[in-house]
């Protein structure tokens, strides 16, 4: 029987309860969003005592289903003011799954100035004073924590940016090398955790009972189908794009498409971007003796991760993802992988979301704090955060606050959250998702199995449909995958191989003992989105919040010289189900 672990930060006590009947089939995002909607008042202050932080491993997470090591973190976001789910791939997720913990709900708020560490083992859980590991960079702290608790534990943490209660802060998890590099980055949930006085979660799954599988035959059958799909598809198989180059393979592709935002969204193409491409990075890693390919969590077939190092092969940073490289690189006019690597290291060390942080620096550059391309100055700006200066506090608050403080008009945010690495003036469909997802601008919200496979409404060809229908279908499918525990990247294989989709659903049925079908899971995705939308409406969101920033409609983006011209009525159709 899966349990919910409640952590009361007022009393510093923990307790376990059975998962209630109505939560039995939930996991990942469906669990975090449902608990937040049920227990957090939508109008509460995100950093006050009424907000909660919810951790939930996916439904199949902790089993040996391939590429399924995801954990969702949820709460009310201090960045957007709405509901938030951010997820990451890490063995912490698998460990919680194997311990039979369906969710950790952190509630209340510690009254004093102390920080705490939550230790979770098979025998129970406890809060331990963590002041000795606070106020420090996470690379150093992770070494100390592994020394204290043993090499086999999984670590979740928030950094100095969260201590500042900055909405630019993410929730960080350990990677297999023990580096602080796997982030549920978006939406400032790190600040929510720190506001309660919680800085770390350390998980030890020694002698854990493992994930209960109710129908082993269905599970094994599904697992095999999924494994076949992932190992045979060009994108996900060994030697495929993700495995050979990592997500950063997209730099050259999206730059070629004229959609790679440069210098705070003022152009969509710059051939210097090639210097920070996946090809260049793979070549350098090979030369330096870093690691590539690599996993974010054990049991992944795709292996898109890597370990980036200094030029002499020392001081590993961890993975340099496409979004991070773009945000800290071309979007700041920086085209040097070593500079990008150091900026990424600073983000990991301080507990910053790389997408939000890169956008913040770009807006600060436009606001006159540095010249575009000045990597040294960008690193100094991150030091302002480390030193907790007033400028540092502004930067730790994210892109929108920084833009406002420094008088910048071109602020690339939706619902207060900065845009990812695809300019919606060149890729309009993704702009519809940025505008309408309950999460604020988020590329992963509509990044999933094509609708012709999941049949969530409408006809087969996504290109023949209105963009609202396409975005809705993708958001529905994504919400479901985010609940399963599988990585969204399985979608590339599932897009083309229908047995893979069946396999995914069968493994979920195997774990839960349910009889979902490929068609019926779409309803689950819809329900998640409805829950999130209702929360946001109660928090005060209206259709006006489902819009891209004004400059996207007025400033034409080179090289295609397009503006975002999807009509407001089309955006408002996305959620008319």
């Amino acid at each position: 029987m899966r349990k919910i672990l409640r952590v009361n930060m007022n009393t510093l006590e923990t307790s376990y309860e059975d998962v209630p009947e109505k939560y039995q089939t939930l996991g990942g995002r469906s669990m975090t969003s449902t608990v937040v909607a049920d227990e957090v008042p939508p109008t509460c202050h995100p950093l006050g005592p009424h907000n909660k932080v919810v951790f939930a491993p996916g439904i199949v997470t902790g089993t040996d289903a391939p590429t399924s090591g995801r954990i969702s973190v949820g709460g009310k976001s201090p960045l957007t003011g709405g509901i938030k789910e951010a997820n990451a791939g890490t063995k912490c997720a698998q460990m919680l799954g194997r311990l039979g913990i369906a969710a950790i709900v952190v509630e209340g708020k510690h009254e004093g100035d102390d920080y705490y560490l939550l230790k979770v083992t098979r025998d129970g859980s406890a809060l331990i004073n963590a002041n000795q590991w606070s106020g420090k960079g996470l690379y150093e702290v992770y070494k100390e924590l592994f020394e204290e608790f043993g090499k086999a534990v999984g670590i979740c943490s928030v950094g100095i940016a969260a201590e500042l209660l900055g909405a630019n802060s993410g929730v960080c998890f350990s990677d297999p090398e023990g580096l602080p590099s796997r982030y549920a980055g978006r939406g400032g949930l790190g600040a929510v955790m720190a506001s309660k006085g919680l800085k770390f979660v350390v998980v030890d799954d020694t002698s854990a009972p493992g994930v209960e599988i109710k129908n082993n035959e269905a599970f094994e059958k599904g697992k095999e189908k999924l494994r076949k799909a992932l190992t045979s598809h060009d994108v996900t198989k060994p030697g495929g794009a993700l495995n050979s180059y990592g997500t950063d393979v997209l730099i050259n592709i999206i730059n070629e498409a004229g959609a790679l935002p440069q210098r705070n969204f003022s152009s969509g193409q710059d051939d210097r971007s090639e210097n920070v491409s996946g090809e260049k990075k793979a070549e350098e890693i090979k030369k330096r003796g870093g690691v590539r390919p690599h996993v974010c969590s054990p049991g992944c077939i795709i292996k898109c991760s890597e370990v980036w190092t200094n030029p002499d092969g020392t001081d590993p940073v961890g993975v340099l993802e496409y979004e991070s490289v773009w945000a800290l690189g071309p979007n700041c006019g920086i085209y040097d992988l070593d500079v990008v690597g150091e900026l990424n290291r600073a983000c990991n060390d301080l507990g910053l979301d790389t997408i939000e942080a890169g956008n913040t620096i770009a807006v600060a550059m436009e606001g006159g704090l540095a010249e575009f391309g000045d990597g040294e100055k960008a690193l100094q700006l991150f030091e302002e955060i480390r030193n907790k200066t007033p400028t540092g506090k502004i930067l730790a608050s994210g892109t929108e606050v920084t833009g406002k403080v420094f008088g910048v008009v071109r602020i690339p945010t939706v619902k207060g959250q900065a845009l990812p690495a695809y300019d919606p003036r060149s890729i309009k469909g993704i702009g519809v998702t940025y505008a309408t997802t309950p999460m604020g601008a988020d590329h992963t919200a509509g990044y999933a199995i094509a609708p012709e496979i999941l049949k969530v409404g409408g006809e087969a060809d996504p290109f023949d449909k209105k963009k609202a229908d396409l975005s809705r279908d993708l958001q529905v499918a994504t919400a479901f995958i985010d609940s399963s525990g599988y990585c969204l990247f399985i979608a590339f294989a599932l897009l083309d191989i229908s047995e893979g989709v069946e396999g995914m659903v069968e493994t979920i049925n195997g774990v839960l003992g349910t009889d979902f079908t490929v068609d019926s899971v779409a309803e689950i995705g819809k329900q998640i989105l409805k829950t999130e939308r209702v929360f946001n409406e109660a928090a005060g969101f209206t259709s006006v919040d489902d819009r891209l920033p004004e400059f996207m409609r007025e400033e034409a983006l080179p090289p295609h010289n397009e503006v975002f011209d999807v009509p407001d009525e089309e955006l408002d159709r996305v959620f008319n189900f």
């Binding site: 592709i253 070629e256 498409a257 090639e274 993704i430 396409l470």
Partner: protein
């Protein structure tokens, strides 16, 4: 005027014999070249070796027309990672 072809990943090996200037950039005369498939033939690249094709930054198919001054970009099979449901592949087969 020539057609500029940008080759990515391991397709760059095809350019090494003739390339000058930027890495992976090849310039070819437009004689006998009407569409993307002709560009592939001219560079001895098989369709099966490719993933994404672009003409002047537009996601394109093999029958997309090309002319002098155009930029054609060719990505190898192992670099395919476009969220293809957000892109419409441009072709000129109606003309």
């Amino acid at each position: 005027m020539v057609i500029k072809v940008k080759l990515y990943g391991n397709l760059r090996e095809k350019a090494s014999r003739s390339a000058e200037g930027a890495p992976g950039m090849v310039e070819i005369e437009d004689r006998g070249i009407k569409m993307v498939s002709d560009v592939l033939n001219a560079l001895n690249i098989d369709e099966a070796e490719t993933s994404h094709l672009f003409v002047n930054g537009k996601y394109s198919g093999l029958r997309k027309k090309v002319k002098n001054g155009d930029r054609v970009a060719i990505f190898p099979k192992n670099m395919g990672l476009l969220y293809k449901w957000y892109f419409r592949r441009e072709e000129n087969d109606q003309e």
